[in-house]
């Protein structure tokens, strides 16, 4: 399969919460090809953890199912799709609201979607009751190195200008 992406991967695992760490570490390892900062990598890990937890806790609840992860890399971004074939979400907008949870008695914070939204650049939730839920999220990895290089070059140019000006002043004196 040759796609339009620079790289792709797929993962499937059963909906055991002991797989949460495996999922976020696997995705982070894949994403590291884009040379992200530690902070960007931590954002990705957190978002993956939230989405996978949703599949396990809400999608499959007390049943077992398969959680699927698909990742695509291109240029400076990664797209991560995390899906389940569980019970689905009836009202997606309501589910996305901060602090909204259907399981408050189990000490859920209701912050999952909010955290994904703030840590990733794009998030899309698609869900059909009794069919399943798919979360698609995208993160752009800042090409800070280029910006840094430019700022260093700019600084040098400024310094050159200053030293030129100073030497002109000295010459004037």
């Amino acid at each position: 399969m040759v796609g339009i992406y620079d790289n792709e991967m797929k993962l499937e695992f059963i909906s055991k919460s002991s797989n949460e760490a495996f999922a976020r570490i696997a995705v982070a390892a894949f994403a590291s090809q884009l040379d992200p900062t530690i902070e960007e990598l931590a954002d990705i890990k957190t978002a993956v953890s939230e989405a996978v937890t949703n599949c396990i806790i809400h999608g499959y609840e007390d049943t077992m199912g398969i959680v699927k992860i698909e990742c695509k890399l291109k240029d400076n971004w990664i797209e991560i799709q995390i899906s389940d074939s569980g019970k689905g979400i009836e009202d997606i907008e309501l589910a996305k609201k901060p602090l909204y949870t259907t399981k408050a008695n189990l000490e859920r914070s209701g912050m999952g979607f909010t955290i994904i939204e703030s840590f990733m650049d794009e998030m899309k939730v698609e869900s059909v009751p009794d069919i399943g839920t798919k979360i698609t999220m995208k993160k752009y990895i800042a090409t800070e190195k280029n910006e840094e290089d430019n700022s260093i070059i700019n600084k040098h140019n400024e310094l050159d200008k200053k030293s030129n000006e100073q030497s002109e002043i000295k010459e004037g004196i």
Binding site: E20, D43, R108, I115
Partner: protein, 109 residues
């Protein structure tokens, strides 16, 4: 999880070592509640120095512990939280009720 109790100050410090996600919270919850009910401390400090990861499952777990500690007349503080986890605390609004503290060693370095 390391547990240090100072009877003089009725202060319980719990050093959390694991990555805090849904999977970890189940066990953590039980361990922490055991220690709290054992000592009935006036102040509980969760030491986050060795916590490298936490997601929203951790928020739910902490709020639950906060409620128990408050009910028992104590207070809760979080020590040495890393930047990433602090971002999660900020988003969740939990910092309005649970203060973050840094220990002196950290400040010196």
């Amino acid at each position: 999880m390391e547990c240090i109790y100072v009877p003089k100050d009725k202060q319980l410090t719990l050093k959390i070592e694991e990555e805090i996600d849904e999977y970890a919270t189940e066990k953590l919850r039980r361990k922490i509640d055991n220690e709290i009910t054992r000592f009935l401390p006036r102040k509980v400090i969760f030491d986050f120095s060795n916590v490298t990861f936490m997601d929203s499952a951790g928020i739910g777990m902490l709020l639950g512990r906060y409620k128990i500690i408050k009910m028992l007349g104590g207070q809760l503080e979080l020590l040495n939280v890393n930047k990433q986890i602090e971002k999660i605390f900020e988003i969740s609004g939990i910092l309005k009720i649970i203060p973050l503290i840094k220990n002196n060693e950290e400040n010196v370095s």
